[in-house]
């Protein structure tokens, strides 16, 4: 059983080595990938483990991002407090959205979460004088420090991203291996049976939405603080689709799939766009291959072919 934990710690160690050893360009990419992977891990808890196909997670990411960003610029908060506000804002909004959207299931759930997120996105645009809309705003370097720890500095940025990612990864590993994790999977696999075993599907799924939203919010706040930019584009529909694609690519319902998917997609886009302006086409083709040959994603396929212990 503990080879799973060992594997996770090896992954964390490899990421740490990457931060120290890689050239700055790639180390910065790695920090970005880790923050986005936190977003994807939260999405994976809802979609991969609990079967909640949400198309509204951009709203929770943006909630965390704006809570932190506006907290600093308008509220004069210190960076540490702003970072804490991220998961709280994302989680609270996800609970509210979940309370409405979980009255539906399946395709209706997708549509309701999509609509709610669009409403959130339009709200950001409506308040452009405050949010700066599509253009966004930049957090000055001096505001992005916790005490003497300057988050805008390359090494610190990597270390903070690694810390957040590690916390998120180990938390999600503990969660899916706990009794609650088993109940999450039960909801995905057979909700009616689960109800008749005495579990309330609504409260289980709402709790998962809250946790998932908190991950998204934490990632949004970290993104604002580490990379200094806050903008409405992070609340747009594309940012709801991306975590779905990362999770599908890496393997839905696997703890390491979100990192793998986010990393691969990031570099796939990066490399493709250095050759052609039609990089979206390359990404699309890659996803098509995935759906045809490994519908459970990379780690999902490995788990099916012998690595049954992968959590």
């Amino acid at each position: 059983m503990n080879r799973a934990l060992a594997l996770h710690l090896i992954v964390v160690a490899a990421l740490a080595a990457g931060i120290f050893l890689l050239p700055v360009y790639h180390a910065t990419n790695l920090a970005r990938i880790m923050v986005l992977a936190v977003f994807a891990m939260g999405y994976n808890l809802a979609f991969g483990y609990t079967g909640l196909l949400s198309l509204g997670h951009a709203m929770f990411f943006a909630a965390g991002m704006y809570a932190a960003g506006l907290g600093i610029t308008l509220g004069g908060w210190p960076a540490g407090l702003a970072l804490l506000a991220g998961p709280l804002a994302g989680g609270a909004l996800a609970l509210a959205a979940g309370a409405l959207a979980l009255r539906t299931a399946g395709v209706s759930f997708m549509i309701v979460t999509l609509m709610l997120a669009q409403a959130g996105y339009l709200t950001i645009l409506y308040y452009t004088p405050i949010t700066r809309g599509e253009e966004g705003f930049v957090l000055a370097q001096g505001l992005r420090r916790i005490g003497a720890f300057d988050l805008s500095q390359d090494l610190n940025r990597g270390l903070f991203a690694l810390g957040l990612f590690t916390a998120g990864l180990l938390l999600s590993l503990a969660l899916v291996r706990a009794r609650f994790g088993r109940i999450m999977v039960a909801m995905r696999e057979n909700e009616e049976r689960s109800r008749m075993l005495g579990y309330n599907p609504f409260t289980v799924k709402l709790a998962v939405m809250g946790i998932s939203g908190a991950y998204a919010g934490a990632a949004g706040a970290a993104y604002a603080l580490l990379f200094g930019s806050v903008g409405a584009s992070f609340g747009a529909i594309a940012f709801s689709i991306l975590p779905l694609l990362w999770v599908l690519l890496g393997g839905a319902g696997t703890t390491l799939g979100p990192l793998l998917g986010a990393g691969l997609m990031f570099y796939l886009t990066d490399i493709a766009s250095s050759y052609t302006s039609a990089h979206q086409f390359v990404v699309g083709a890659a996803l098509l291959v995935l759906v045809l040959f490994a519908p459970r994603g990379i780690l999902g396929a490995l788990r099916e072919r012998g690595l049954k212990w992968l959590p």
Binding site: V185, E189, N190, R195
Partner: protein, 239 residues
Amino acid sequence: MAAVTLLEARGLQRHFGGIPAVDGVDLTLRAGEIHALIGPNGAGKTTLVSLLSGRITPQAGRILFAGEDITALPAHRRVAKGIAYTFQITSIYPRLTVFDNVALALRDSRDLPRAVGAALARTGLQALAGETAGELSYGHQRLLELTMGLALKPRLLILDEPTQGLANEDIAGFKALVRSLVPETTVLLIEHNMEVVMDLADRITVLNFGRSLASGTPAEVRANADVQAAYLGGDDAEA
């Protein structure tokens, strides 16, 4: 033996699009009995037990369980009160292991391997704990469903056509198992196999067109003229 009432349903009614599926049914279950619910196809048996387990809500009537009004309780709360339901069409977690299926039914998560092993031993499935549930034979899947129902340690176990599709030798084992449950657990059994019903049931309720036609001991029900006309003497007589 003093007949303590475990469950009492009064005037239960449920219509689907104007067609009465259950039309004012009274039902009394005594603690510790095996009570069979019989009737022709479409008589409303599954609808009635769905009302009792909370899967659907009644349009009229009330349900008392151990003296408490549970009419408004959702299904999962009734399970917590001790009402377990096993589905007519096998409903397990096909992609999970047998172990995980049973673990989900256990309330107490301490020492899971031991508790799951004990639950599986009751139905003789202990050797299959590591198998994927969906890959089991049909008979084993039915038994797994029963194991999950029992793992809930219910006060009332509702079995919806449990022997459907089982081989004859499995039916004998099933009858012995159900007999071993009483009197700790009360059993409400929907069953088409008259041999099983007459063998197991302490009392029988006959439904026809959503109404209760008769209720009593197997001998009383057999002697009832209405029942003979509507059911036992009809085309689908199996006894």
